[in-house]
């Protein structure tokens, strides 16, 4: 084999291995979708979306079924567009809620199917939604409740709170 054909072989092997590695990195690890699954688009309006961002995951029973395509403010509420796998059959009374992974993780949309007879189609809307749960709001509510409950509050500032709200 001539010197140059050996060089060509070496370079060819390098490029093939490199491209194969790139393909593995992109598709298997990076989740690049080469063949787009058919998706249907569904609208949902939330009073509050918390930390939800475009591109966030949509799940049913903990399994990823789609992504959040768009988020817009409309009439002081968050109007979202969800792209969901077309193979999935979801009844029209499905409930959409905003949850977080663990306590402090990323926000995602959880869909809980209802029992209606007709199904969600491309362009339909999810009627029932639950807003994101704000941990700070919960803590404040708890502090207020326990302060009003009478007597000692375990928080140092607890004594100040009832003054504001009585």
């Amino acid at each position: 084999m001539s010197d140059h054909s050996r060089a060509e072989l070496a370079v060819g092997a390098f490029v093939v291995v490199g491209l194969a590695g790139l393909a593995y990195l992109s598709v298997s690890i990076g989740g690049l979708e080469l063949f787009e699954n058919d998706r249907i688009q569904v609208g949902a309006r939330f009073a509050s979306i918390g930390d939800l961002k475009t591109g966030a995951v949509v799940k049913v029973a903990g399994v990823k079924v789609g992504r959040v395509q768009a988020i817009r403010l409309e009439d002081y509420a968050a109007e979202t567009k969800l792209a969901i796998d077309a193979n999935l059959v979801l009844p029209s009374d499905t409930i959409a809620s905003i949850r977080t992974e663990g306590l402090l993780g990323e926000s995602y949309v959880l869909l809980r199917p209802g029992g209606a007879e007709d199904n969600l189609e491309d362009g339909s809307r999810i009627g029932q939604t639950e807003p994101a749960i704000d941990l700070i709001d919960l803590l404040v509510k708890y502090a207020l409740d326990s302060a009003e409950g009478g007597g000692e509050s375990s928080e140092g500032d607890g004594g100040g709170m009832p003054d504001l709200f009585e």
């Binding site: 490029v15 490199g18 590695g21 990195l25 690890i29």
Partner: protein, 259 residues
């Protein structure tokens, strides 16, 4: 009066010198790029350059990637285990490598190895008047020396970056599971969840830009080397230093725009 004027004049001279040097270098880059597509295509030469820049850098890339992956695991584990958050070790390592360390370190290694060699080779040709000889033979020296190396660099450095990323993640996985006792399944699946195509794409774009830096500056410095052995040494040093600074500064700029 003179003691005030003289230093200010020196600052002005240095600034003007820097500006004109960048201008010259940019014009050189443009002439390199323009000649990539002009015939003769010199495919044999390009393949040789690809072998030099690509194949011969694989060893050093594998070595540095392995150690980088392992040290990321070591530091990351130390920091995360205090919060019981070892489950974030995979994403920490993989994203650090793919978004930043892979492209930058691979580029720096290639610049140190291939970039210095290219600068020295071209500078040697300039100093021994071989470049003038090419001109006399009506061979375009910029096309023959620089454009071919530019194309070779652009084709190989991104692949080296990919090899760096994969090797780093693999070494991290092995180190974390075999030495630190981290759960392998969680590591692998958390990496898959965290890494997006956008991260891989950013990695590719960075290595492409860095590939241009390496070929461009190495050829420019060599082409414009001063006379003598000193000139060759100076050109080589300049090439490696300037490419390294450009890679790090360019990394910041690209990250600011792309992240």
């Amino acid at each position: 009066m003179q003691t005030i004027v003289a230093p200010i004049g020196a600052v002005g001279r240095a600034t003007l010198g820097a500006v004109s040097a960048s201008g010259r270098a940019t014009l050189f880059l443009w002439s390199m790029v323009r000649r990539v597509v002009s015939p003769p295509l010199r495919l044999k030469l390009i393949v040789e350059h690809m072998r030099f820049i690509g194949n011969r850098s694989v060893g050093i890339v594998l070595l540095t990637a392995t150690f980088t992956g392992m040290v990321l695991v070591l530091q990351g584990y130390n920091a995360l285990v205090r919060f019981g958050s070892e489950v974030y070790l995979g994403p920490l390592v993989a994203l650090s490598l793919i978004r930043e360390l892979g492209p930058v370190l691979a580029a720096l290694m290639v610049a140190a190895r291939a970039g210095s060699a290219i600068a020295a080779t071209v500078a040697g040709m300039r100093v021994t008047e071989q470049i003038d000889a090419l001109e006399v033979m009506a061979v375009d020296p910029v096309q023959y020396l620089a454009s071919t190396r530019l194309l070779a660099s652009v084709l190989t450095v991104p692949l080296l970056g990919t090899i760096f990323n994969l090797t780093g993640i693999a070494a991290a996985y092995l180190f974390a599971t075999l030495v630190l006792g981290v759960d392998g399944g969680t590591f692998a699946s958390s990496v898959r969840e965290a890494v997006q195509w956008s991260d891989v794409s950013i990695s590719l774009q960075k290595t492409l830009v860095f590939a241009v830096f390496i070929a461009w500056i190495a050829c420019y410095e060599g082409y414009h080397a001063q006379q003598g052995a000193r000139g060759i040494g100076q050109a080589t040093t300049n090439a490696v230093v300037i490419v390294s600074v450009l890679v790090l500064a360019g990394d910041y700029v690209m990250t600011a725009f792309l992240l």
